[in-house]
Symmetry: D2
Subunit: 244 residues, 4 copies
C-alpha cells in the first residue's frame, strides 16, 4: 500500500512575530504537525504555508495531496477567492481535509459548512478534557475514554455548524464550558474532520494522543473516490429507452 | 386548539420506601412533574404508576395520551412484555415519548434505540451545567445559553445510543464529565426526547428551567400523525398499471 | 396567532421571454405560487423579483419575511455578493427558506449546502411520482403515500448535497431515474427545505398536492428563533468563576 | 493483513421445499453468497443455517466472525430469544452485520432498528434499477451510477426504519415504486448494512454487481473495535479529584 500523501498547511504568522510561539514551535506549527504525523507512520508528509506562491496551494500541489491538514488564525481573509474555489472543488472531488482549532473560522471550512462556525471562547490556559463519544469511529482508535490537555484555549457551545455526520469527541473545559471538539462530515465525495485542540501558545501538537488523533483523522479522510462533482449531467437518453 | 394530553408515568418506588425522597417529592416524582407541566400551561395532565393494573398503561390510557413522560429507575425489568409491546407500537404509531434520567435504562427506551443505552455515572451531588447546543430547536425555547443544577447525579460519556437526530443539550459536570443530556429522535411516526437531568434525591423537577424543557419537549413530541406502522403493505397492483 | 409572512421570490425571466411559459403562468411563477399559498390559508404573502432594486431583497423586506420561497433558473450568477451575503445571514439567523426546482443551483442554496448541488437531468416531460418517505414529517401532512405529476423535468441521482437532516420525499421518474426530491435541513438557526418539482414549462404549481407541500414547507420553515450567529462570543469570565 | 472472517447465515428453507428455488440456488442461498464473496477475494467465508444447533450461532461461532451476512424470510419468529440476545450484544460490541432482502423483517434487524421495518411490496418480477446516491461511500466502490436487476421483488416506500446514517442506494422499480435499498447504520460499536436486492426466486446473488456490493459491505462493516457495551460504568472517582 502506498503511503498516504498528507500536506500540512499553516498560515505561519504567529511563529514569525511572537517569540513565545516560536519557542514552542521552532519549526512552525506545520513543522510540529508534520513531525507528529511522521512519528505515527504510513504517511508521506509535505508542508505548505500562506506566503508561498498561490498560498502554497497550486493545482499541482493539491493533485499530489490525499489529505490536507489546515492550521490558520489571523490571516483567513487574505486567502484569495481563486485559492478557496480550487480547494473547495478538490475537497468536493474527494481530497480529505482536517481542520484544526482556529481554522474553524477559515474561509474553506465556513464554505464547506455553509454556516458561520462561530463559538464561545476564552484564552486563559484552562484544562481541557477530550471525551470520546464514538469509540467505534476510526478517528478514536487507541484514544481510550478521554485524554487531557493541561492548558488549552477554551472553546464552548453554541458552535454554529451543521449537525456532524458523526460526533467523535466532546470536550470538557475547567472553566465550565463544553464543546463538540471532534466533528466528522461528508461533503461531495470528500471527508472533513474538525478537531478543536491546538492553540499556538500551548504545546498541544507535541502531545501523543493529539498526534494519534491527527494520524487517525488523515487515514479516515483519505479519498475513497476522487472525481469532480461540479458539472450537471445531461442524460439525454432515459435508462428505460436505452434498454427498450 | 385542544390542550395536549400528557400522561406522566412513574414507577413510584423510591418515594414510598425512602423518607428523603418523599420529603423532596411528597406527591411523587410524577406529581411534581405534573405540577410543573400544569404550571407551564396548555396541557391536560394525567398521571399513572407501575402498581396500577396493566402498569397504568392499558390501551384506553394510551389512546387518550398524546405524549407520555416516563420516569423509572429500580423496576424496569418488571414491566411485562405485553406492556412494552403496546407502548412500543403506540410510539411507532405517533405517540410522543419523553424519557427522563434513569429511564435511560427502561425497556421501552432501549427497545426504541436498539442499543444498550449504557453510560458512565457517579452519584455525589456534583454541579451540572446544561448547555444549549441547538438554540433553534423548539425544546430549547426560552432556555438561553445554559442553566445550572446545583446538585445532580453525574452521567458521562460514552453514552451508547444511536447518533441523535438532533442533539439539543450537552451537560458539563463539575467532576470532569460531559454528557449528551438532550437527545431528540424520530422513530416510526413518533418523536422521542431523552432528557438526562432529574435524580430522585435532588429537587430538580422543582427547577424552573427544567419545567420549561419538559413543557417544550411535550409540545415538540406531540403526534403529527397517529397511524400504526406494524403491517407490511401488499400492493398487488403497480401504480403504473393502475394508470395504464 | 399572526399569519406567517411569506415572500415568494422569482428571477422572473422565462415568463417575459417565452410565450409558452407565460401562458401557463400569466402572473409569473411567483404569482402562481403566491396564489397557491393564499389558497391554503394562514399566510400573508408578498412577492419580489430579481429586477427590483437590490433584487427585491433589501434589509427591510427580509426583516418582514418569516419564510422566503425561491424560484430561479437562468440568472443565478447575476445575484450580487452583497445580496447573497445578506440572505445567507438572514437564514442563519432564523429566516426560513424554501428552495424550488432549478433553484437547486442558486447561489444561496449552494452556499448553505457547501456542495455543488449538481444532479442528473433530462427535460422530456416524463411522469414523476413523488413518494412520501417521512409521513410523520410536518411537510408531508395530508400528502398520502404519493402523488403524481403528469409531465415533469427529470431530476436524478446522484444529487450532490449533504445528507439531509430529514429526507421527506423521493421521486420516481418514468424514464428510470430516482431523486431525493424533498430534503429538510437545519443551518444556523434557520430551516431550509428543498423541493424538486416545478419546471417553468409544466403547470406544476397549479396542482393541489404541490400547493399543499409548499404551504406545509412554509409552516415548517417558520423561525423558532431569529438571532444572528455571525459573531464569536468572547466569554471573558468563566461560568465557574462567576459562581465561585 | 488477515482475511476478514465472514459467516453467511441462511434460514435455509425455501431451497429445501421449492424446486424452482433449488434450481436457482442448488447450494442454498448461503452457498451462492459464500461463492460470490470468495470470488471477490480477501475473505475467509463460513456458512451457518437455522437448523444447526443453536441456529448455527453459538458463542464460539460468533467470536470467530467479523461480519455476519443474514438471509431469512419465513422463519424469523422461530429464532429463540437467547440467540437474538447474543447476536444483538455481539453487534453492539462491534461485529458487522449485513442484512439482506426479506431479512428486513428478521428479529435481529428490527431489534437493532427499534422500528417495525415494514414496507410496501409486490412480487411480480419487475425490473429494479439500483442507483448510487453516495458514490464516495466504500460500499459503492466500483458500482458506477447504477446497475439493473432484470427481475426482482418490488420493495417500496414507506420503509419504517430510522433515518440511515448514510443512504447509499435508492432503487427504482418498473411498477412505479422507489425504495431506500442500501442503508448504513452505526449501533453501539457495530456497523449494520441493509441491502434490499435478493429474492429467493430470482438469481440475484449470481449477478456481479451484487457480489461486489456484498464484498464492499463486508469490508465496511468489519469491526474497528470489539468491546461489549452492555454494562454501566460506575466511575466512583471523578476525573477532577483523580488529578487534584
Amino acid at each position: 500500500m502506498n503511503p498516504l500523501r498528507v500536506t500540512v498547511w499553516n498560515e505561519f504568522l504567529h511563529e514569525k512575530v511572537d517569540d513565545a510561539v516560536r519557542t514552542i514551535y521552532p519549526d512552525g506549527i506545520h513543522g510540529a504537525i508534520a513531525h507528529a504525523l511522521r512519528g505515527q507512520g504510513g504517511f508521506e508528509v509535505a508542508t505548505a504555508t500562506q506566503d508561498e506562491p498561490e498560498c502554497g496551494l497550486d493545482a499541482r500541489r493539491l493533485a499530489a495531496t490525499d489529505v490536507l491538514v489546515w492550521w490558520g488564525h489571523m490571516r483567513h481573509e487574505e486567502l484569495p477567492d481563486a485559492v478557496v474555489d480550487r480547494l473547495h472543488q478538490e475537497v468536493l472531488a474527494g481530497m480529505g481535509l482536517v481542520i484544526l482549532h482556529s481554522a474553524v473560522a477559515s474561509r474553506i471550512f465556513r464554505r464547506l459548512m455553509g454556516t458561520n462556525c462561530t463559538l464561545r471562547w476564552r484564552d486563559v490556559g484552562e484544562k481541557e478534557r477530550v471525551w470520546t463519544v464514538a469509540p467505534d469511529h476510526p478517528i478514536a482508535e487507541g484514544i481510550g475514554e478521554y485524554f487531557e490537555i493541561p492548558r488549552s484555549e477554551t472553546y464552548g457551545e453554541r458552535f454554529d455548524v451543521p449537525e456532524p455526520d458523526r460526533l467523535v469527541f466532546i470536550s470538557w473545559h475547567a472553566g465550565g464550558e463544553v464543546f463538540r471538539s471532534g466533528c466528522a462530515y461528508h461533503r461531495g465525495n470528500g471527508r472533513i474532520f474538525f478537531f478543536a485542540p491546538g492553540h499556538e501558545s500551548y504545546p498541544i501538537y507535541h502531545q501523543e494522543p493529539v498526534a494519534r488523533v491527527l494520524a487517525n483523522a488523515c487515514r479516515w479522510a483519505a479519498p475513497r473516490v476522487r472525481r469532480a462533482t461540479k458539472d450537471f449531467v445531461h442524460a439525454e437518453e432515459a435508462p428505460e429507452q436505452a434498454r427498450g
